[in-house]
Each structure stands twice: as structure tokens, then as C-alpha cells.
Symmetry: C2
Subunit: 325 residues, 2 copies
């Protein structure tokens, strides 16, 4: 497997997945522009299939496989969005998907995987929450037992190239952006989109946005080496993972800065997007919005694209206090 | 003032407001199509300016006025969406808007009006909730004191023609629909869109959808005369009003049926749209979705457009039980 990710690989991914994914809309809001004193373009990956940008990487990975590789299915480990996205992509190709999930996964995430026909394999864990080693061990066992092909949620060049296709759509529609802001967890999205921007729009400053409470990308970026995350406790459940050994060097090379935001700012940015844009975003998507509202990035007077990465929220548990009937 | 509403009036409205409103997207969801066994096209007026289709009618009314008529501003009475929409349209033309609102209006509705620079006039009321006579009396007093021009939220041909422009966009994109479903409160939207469909797409069955708990349009339609609503208690706060003497005859003439849905079905349809389409809709928008899910309309195997009328929800008060942090 080729471990570099090039613009060409992203173009190939676009061709491969074009009929499988949605070209998501870019939305604007006058009131949010006024609040930020900037022109903000929201790339709505929350309106992507399976409600998340990860559909791009999952389709690209699944459709990159030869028939011989694909026949025994694919396997990944995820408690969240990757689980549903890979199950959907596999079901589209008519192959099985095995998803290693923790027993504590949200009911909404579990039922999304089942809706797409995915096979859930529970991760055995010593603690309340499985470690990444325990996830990997379960996925490896499934791989041996079934012959399924592993697809990593972010540390995989096919996944990264797939996520990068989102940036091709942004550059097509908004060719002269001052800033591109994306959330960063494992770094698959940020690695993919920064590869595209550095190649096609080098003047755009690409900024990774992360919760203070899960700031491994911030620390890794500034230290120049991977500093793994310990005990992330952020509301942005999609961003609790650490950078991988494949995503980190790409991000180091292509990204202009990584900034962090508070939990409070994430929740109020999320609520504000629901209120003003009328779209449902998950907390991870609110992280770059919070970075603008907290003035962590000097966007005044500039044009800014923000990737709203996903919209998969447990509507029975909101991060703000809401009165029920 | 001409009291009929023709297709020509809707075309004129479209020309008048084209640069002022958004052409809203039509969205689809595979999982909702599967649930309904139909091809459903959601016209997202929740993504309209001010978060509601009423921007169309408000802009059309405000920009229909001559300079001499407009100079002293406009006045309306509303506790909800019309208030913000008219304030926005008036501010866009640079004229004052006076909005007669009840003292019990939601804080989110009040602040939306203030954000657009509207002048709030509190409705004096004997009871806890003002009667429509008390609303009208306040609006009439403001009209006398200020010389402002009255714009009725639904019982006004300019308002109705403006709302009809939504249907022109639907017919452009989906010319051979079997069904068009829209919520009905005062009937401005349903009167406008049914006028367009009967003229341009007569084979499409146009269905008004209403809460059982505010079923005046259902009873009026089937009785052949206006049966006013008493004490509506539905969660669909945008649909508590009764048909007007202008909207009722248009609806009688153009609409194929009016159906009703339960409160429970409205809340679960609303939640389902948030979850699957990832857009925020208010309870009123969920009413036609509920009509499909409750099989009140025989849509199986058919193509169906549903107007998602608005997205203005008080995010601190949800109609389902959600746990807070």
C-alpha cells in the first residue's frame, strides 16, 4: 500500500466515489457573518450520506479494493461515525462490514450500523472505555477469523484521499479563500483537505481546530512529534482520538496552524449554528465555528470556509439545558 | 386592493422578490423514502431567510408598496414567524415595522424581531393569551397613530402571492409530482401554492395537512364554510390560526383534500427529520411529514413534495424528553 497521499490520489478518489456520495451544499448566514465580521462559507458535510464526511473515505476505501480483496468484507473499529459510514459503503458494494464497537456505544450509533446491515463485534475491555489497543486487538481478531480487509478510520491513505475530495468541491466553488478551518481528531479530514489546498490554493491558510480538552494535535503540531492524547473528556466525541503516524506528517507539512477552543465555546457555537443555519451539527463540527467566535483565528474582513464535519447527534441527550414537556 | 390571487400575481411576486429571498434547496433522504415507500422531495423553507417561508410574502408585500405608501412603515400582528419576517423585509427597504406581539411571546421570537430592528407593540389583553380581536385592535391603533400600512400575515393577496413563489420553484425542479403536501394554519401558504399547482400542474394532488388539535381547515374544507378554531392546543405553534375569508375560498377551489394528524405523530416526525435530514424544522413543518408516516395520504409508489415551512424552534424547549448535562 502506498503511504503517501497526493493530489492525484484525491482526484482518483473523486472519480471513484462521485456517484456514491453527495456533493454537499455550501451555506451562508448573514447574522453569523455579522458576528464574525467575515464572509463564512459553511461546507455542510453534516448533510453528507450517513451524516458525516467519513462517507467519502469509507466509499473510497471500499471501492479501491479488488474483487478478490473485497469478497470477505471489511473491518474497522469505531464507536461512532466511521462505523455507520463503513457499514453503508460495504452494503453499497454488497460485501460484509464488521465493526468493532464498545459495549457502551450510544444506542443511536448502534442502530445506525444495524440499519446499514453492519455486523457489530463488541470490544472486550478491562476498563469502562476500551483503549485503542483493545480496539485494535478486536479488529485484528475479526480480520483473522473472517479474512475481512481492515480499513482504518483515519490512518489509511485511501481514507485520507477520500476525505480530501471535500476540499476539491470547496476550491471549485470558492477559489480564493483566505482561510480553511476544519476540526481535527485522528487527522484524516485535515490531512486530506490540507493536501488539496496546498496544491491548488497555496495562499489559503489551513487551520486545524481542536478542543482544549483533547489537544493532542495542537501539542503534536507545536512539538514537532506525536504527543498522544490521554483521557480526552471533550463533548466533541468525534475528536477524542489521537493523530496517527500517517496523518501527523501530512498535517505537519501542510497545515498553517492548530488552535484550541473551550468546551463552553463548542456548545454555544453548536447551538448558534442550529439556531441560525437551521442545520443539525454534532459538537465536533462546532469546534471551528467556536474558533472563529472566540477569535482564535484572525478572520476579520476575510473569506473563510468552515467544514461542518457531521450531524450525528443523540437527540435525547443535548449538551445544553433544555426543558422537556 | 385586488382580492383575487392569480398565477400572474405569483409570477410578478417572483420577479419582485427574486434578489431578496433564497431559492431554497430540495432535499431527499433514502431512509425516509424507504419508510414511506415513496419518493419524497423536501422543499426546505426552513432554510429560507428568517427561517421561514413567510419571508416570501413579507418581501412581496413590503416591496409592492409605492414610496408614498411605504414611508410610514408597515404594521402586523404576530407572536411568531410573521413578526420576524416582516421586520426583516421592512428593514431591507429602510422603513419602520411595527409588530403587535403578546407579552407572553417566546424570548427567541422577541429577540429575532429586535435583531431586524422591528418595533414591538405589546397587545393588551383581558386573558392570558390575546384573542384575534385584541391583536387586530392593537394593530389598528398603531395604524392610526403611525400611519403604517397593514400587512396581514395570511389574509392578504400580496402575502398569498409571495408564498406561492415557493411552488414555482418546486414545479421548475420537479415538474411531474403526484402529490404536494403543505401545512395549513391561516392558509396563506396553502392558498398560494395551490393556485400555482392548479394552473401549472393540475394532475398533482394538493393536500393541506393540519394538527387534529387545530383542525379548523379540515372542518371548514369539508363543511364548505369557515368553521373557526376554538382553543387550539397543538405543539405546532405556527398552525393555531384559523383560515381567513380570503384564503378559505382559494383553498376550497384548489386543494384536493385536507387531512389531520395527532400530536404524537407531529413530534416523532419532527425528531425523525432532525435525525435523518439533519435540518432543524419547527413542529408545523413536521405536520405533512406526519401525514405521510401515519398513512393519511396514499403516497406509496408516488412522488411527493413536502414543504418544510420553517425552522424557528426554541432550542431551550424541545417537544420530546431530552436529558441535559
Amino acid at each position: 500500500m502506498n503511504l503517501t497521499v497526493t493530489l492525484e490520489a484525491v482526484h482518483e478518489a473523486r472519480t471513484r466515489i462521485k456517484e456514491l456520495i453527495r456533493r454537499t451544499p455550501i451555506m451562508t448566514s448573514e447574522s453569523l457573518n455579522r458576528m464574525a465580521s467575515a464572509d463564512i462559507f459553511f461546507k455542510c458535510e453534516n448533510l453528507q450520506r450517513a451524516g458525516v464526511f467519513k462517507a467519502r473515505g469509507a466509499f473510497n476505501a471500499v471501492y479501491s479494493l479488488s474483487d478478490a480483496e473485497a469478497i470477505r468484507g471489511v473491518v474497522t473499529s469505531s464507536s461512532g461515525n466511521q462505523a455507520a459510514a463503513l457499514a453503508m459503503a460495504a452494503s453499497s458494494r454488497g460485501i460484509p462490514a464488521y465493526i468493532a464497537m464498545p459495549r457502551g456505544a450510544l444506542e443511536s450509533k448502534i442502530s445506525a450500523v444495524r440499519r446499514y446491515g453492519g455486523n457489530i463485534v463488541w470490544v472486550e475491555s478491562q476498563g469502562a472505555v476500551p483503549t485503542s489497543e483493545e480496539y485494535e486487538a478486536t479488529a485484528a481478531r475479526v480480520q483473522i477469523e473472517t479474512g475481512a480487509h481492515p480499513v482504518h478510520p483515519y490512518n489509511d491513505p485511501r481514507t485520507i484521499a477520500g476525505q480530501g475530495t471535500c476540499a476539491l468541491e470547496i476550491v471549485d466553488e470558492r477559489p480564493a479563500l483566505d482561510f480553511l478551518l476544519a476540526p481535527v481528531g485522528g487527522g484524516g479530514l485535515l490531512a486530506g483537505v490540507s493536501t488539496v489546498f496546498k496544491a491548488l490554493s497555496a495562499a489559503t491558510r489551513v487551520i486545524g481546530c481542536e478542543p482544549e480538552m483533547a489537544d493532542d494535535a495542537y501539542r503534536s503540531f507545536h512539538a514537532g512529534r506525536i504527543v498522544p492524547q490521554r483521557n480526552p473528556r471533550t463533548v466533541a466525541d468525534g475528536l477524542r482520538t489521537s493523530l496517527g503516524d500517517l496523518t501527523f506528517p501530512i498535517i505537519s507539512r501542510n497545515v498553517d496552524d492548530v488552535v484550541t477552543v473551550s468546551e463552553e465555546a463548542i456548545v454555544s457555537a453548536m447551538r448558534l449554528v442550529w439556531e441560525r443555519l437551521k442545520v443539525v451539527i454534532e459538537p465536533s463540527s462546532a469546534v471551528p465555528v467556536a474558533a472563529v467566535l472566540e477569535k482564535k483565528v484572525p478572520v476579520a474582513g476575510k473569506s473563510v470556509a468552515i467544514i461542518l464535519s457531521g450531524g450525528n447527534v443523540d437527540l435525547d441527550h443535548l449538551p445544553w439545558r433544555a426543558k422537556s414537556p
